[in-house]
């Protein structure tokens, strides 16, 4: 199991456009990737490719989340996803 933490960089939090960009990227990977708030049990983690799950997670600007995945290429995949979360998409 690979694991990464990331701090939400988008001013609006992880919803609207940032959530759409992230869910789409997670969905294109051939891995089951989960997302949870930092400190919450891994069992409560949600599907990172689900925009509806991301919205109900309600992660705000500055919140820390944990990404998890298993299998070949997991480390690389998580690194790319962390980069998305730590970019302020509203500033683009």
């Amino acid at each position: 199991m690979s694991e990464r933490t990331a701090t939400i960089a988008s001013r609006v939090g992880l919803h609207a456009r940032p959530a759409a960009i992230f869910a789409e990227a997670a969905g294109e990977l051939d891995l089951e990737i989960t997302i949870a708030r930092d400190g919450e049990p891994a069992d409560d983690a949600m599907d990172a490719a689900s925009i509806l799950s991301l919205m109900s997670l309600g992660a705000a600007f500055g919140d820390v989340v944990v990404l998890r995945a298993e299998g070949a290429g997991a480390d690389q995949a998580l690194d790319s996803l962390v980069k998305i979360l730590e970019t302020d998409h509203d500033a683009e």
Binding site: A16, R17, A20, I51, M55, S56
Partner: protein, 574 residues
């Protein structure tokens, strides 16, 4: 040549193909209600695959629409497309297909319905931005259910060519997705002159006919001619109607401009004002030549809120409107919540009869303080701008209420208090009500609904709910006469205006002026047409026409008699 007749609510003569608004999606039956019977050859796997396929199909369709959209609309469609095939939504729907699911196995349609419903509930509970996405989730759910059933997707149909939209009635939510570049007219089988369809049509300047039975059965693609003034729809129109539509297209451009000063044929001035809801509306109205604002609906700053906006927020919102009209009159209506405009922090959703409930000024009885804070904000916004600010309370019924409102205005430092006349009692006692305040403004939509005891949203009552009803005109006359009496007795002018939809009907505008109305306030798009007609009549002629209308036995007879004396209407296609 088949024809349909209804109530014309916005003028214009156009020709084009019909596109039907799909009927609202019906809720799929739950298990064990008798209606569900899952056939033996249907497996959980095959149903699961159907859900996945339908979700994918909806996603593809929404993606295609996003590609042809731009700006904010594009982003919303892209996010909605993602929701359509959302893995969590699809998985939770598939779980409900199993016989082991609580409550038993669902059909594919029912499963996605329930799964979407519970996601919507979760988002709603989160509040704020998430709660605003509830409509998107429910839209996706309805689209997937329609796809599973093989029915057209709900909502305004997508089309490459401009079309005439036919529907049973339009909901406020449909207005957001209506593209005025694509929809050239609205025709509905239900709804009345005050329905959302009618209000939308007037705001967008689209010809519209409502309460035209049968139009929701016209086949897609059928070419029809719509005359929004006459309330007539003609299937497979002939050459004469083609020419009429062509002539209207030329005329419409000349009717688009208003000089900014409304003068009748004898030089009498009747200022034409605009009804606005926001600062952006106000800028548009000023550009259209409005001589001021006759109705600022302050609800815009309260709607979709769980709690009261702060005084600072209100000052900014009102100030944006005042800034568009320096040196001009702006009539502010205080918060008009209740009935069709509920607000969670002000109105009680459980009233058995909300139109007769705690609404408008009456919310001050149950939530004291909100009105005072609003008046404080209006006064502060006035101080920061150069508009001449008048303030009026909606739903005033008695002289005592008017006096109380005037004292609240005085305490806030607002110098021109007034009342809306929407309740028949206020019209009947105008002479005493207007002793307490400086002016009155007739809200003809509500005044008609109360005078005729006919809900303004109900299609079958559309003919009762007509501002041409002689009883309604009599109430206008009583109000104007009462105001004249007080003006004479006190030496202070007590002007009576009209800010309801009636003022936007050019023929009725003539009658209202003849009854003694001093100003008319309407959707900015109607200004030019009303001015063009008033310019052809003198006050004496208007009074003559008002007498004709008052004496008519019915609304239809009043309208016909007045229109017959105003040939300009037909010339202009109004």
């Amino acid at each position: 040549m088949q024809t349909f007749s209804g109530v014309g609510v916005a003028p214009g003569r156009v020709l084009g193909p019909v596109r039907q608004m799909p009927k609202p999606v019906q809720e799929p039956a739950a298990p064990l209600q008798g209606a569900v019977n899952i056939p033996a050859d249907v497996t959980v796997e095959s149903q699961g695959q159907r859900i996945k396929d339908a979700a994918k199909a909806v996603q593809t369709e929404l993606r295609a629409r996003a590609d042809s959209a731009s700006g904010e609309g594009k982003e919303v469609l892209e996010a909605t497309a993602l929701m359509a095939a959302d893995p969590m939504l699809v998985k939770s729907a598939i779980k409900l297909l199993s016989p082991e699911a609580p409550g038993g196995a669902r059909t594919a349609e029912r499963a996605i319905w329930e799964a979407g419903g519970s996601v919507a509930e979760t988002l709603k509970a989160l509040g704020g931005y998430m709660a605003e996405r509830v409509a998107d989730v429910l839209d996706v759910r309805a689209r997937i259910v329609s796809e599973l059933r093989g029915l057209p997707a709900p909502g305004i149909p997508a089309s490459d060519v401009p079309f005439i939209l036919a529907a049973e009635d339009l909901a406020p939510a449909d207005t957001a997705t209506l593209d005025p570049a694509k929809v050239i007219a609205l025709i509905t089988s239900s709804g009345g002159p005050q329905s959302h369809t009618a209000i939308l049509a007037r705001a967008l300047g689209l010809p519209a006919v409502v309460a035209a039975q049968g139009v929701d059965d016209i086949a897609d693609g059928t070419e029809v001619y719509v005359d929004g003034a006459a309330g007539a729809i003609t299937v497979d129109p002939g050459e004469d109607l083609r020419l009429a539509a062509k002539a209207w297209a030329t005329q419409a451009s000349t009717l688009a401009a208003f000089s900014g000063t409304n003068v009748m044929a004898d030089g009498f001035r009747v200022p034409l004002l605009a009804n606005v809801g926001t600062g952006a509306d106000a800028v548009k109205a000023a550009d259209a030549g409005a001589e001021g604002v006759g109705l600022l609906r302050t609800e815009f700053c309260f709607l979709d809120r769980d709690d009261e906006p702060t005084v600072e927020e209100q000052i900014a919102a009102y100030g944006a409107v005042f800034a568009a009209f320096p040196g001009k009159k702006v009539v502010v209506r205080t918060l008009d919540a209740g009935a069709d405009k509920p607000l969670p922090f002000l109105t009680n959703a459980d009233e058995p009869n909300p139109a007769l409930g705690v609404r408008g000024y009456r919310t001050d009885l149950t939530s004291p303080g909100v009105l005072e804070r609003q008046l404080e904000a209006i006064a502060a916004a006035e101080a920061a701008n150069r508009a001449e600010v008048w303030v009026m309370a909606p739903m005033i019924s008695t002289a005592d209420e008017a006096a109380h409102f005037a004292s609240l205005c005085a305490a806030a430092g607002l110098t021109t208090p007034g009342v809306m006349v929407e309740v028949p009692s206020a019209a009947l006692t105008a002479a005493t009500v207007l002793r307490e305040v400086g002016f009155a403004s007739l809200g003809t939509n509500d005044l008609t609904q109360y005078a005729m005891a006919a809900d303004r949203q109900l299609g079958p009552l559309a003919t009762l709910n007509d501002p041409w009803q002689p009883a309604m005109l009599q109430l206008v006359k009583l109000t104007a006469d009462g105001a004249a009496l007080v003006s004479g007795a006190t030496g202070t002018a007590k002007p009576v205006g009209v800010c309801g939809e009636a003022a936007a009907d050019p023929a009725l505008a003539v009658v209202l002026v003849g009854l003694g109305v001093a100003t008319l306030s309407m959707s900015a798009r109607a200004l030019a047409a009303v001015a063009a007609v008033l310019a052809t009549v003198t006050v004496a002629q208007a009074q003559q026409l008002a007498a004709t209308a008052l004496a008519a036995p019915s609304a239809a007879a009043a309208r016909a008699a007045v229109r017959a004396e105003l040939p300009i209407l037909d010339e202009l296609g109004l």
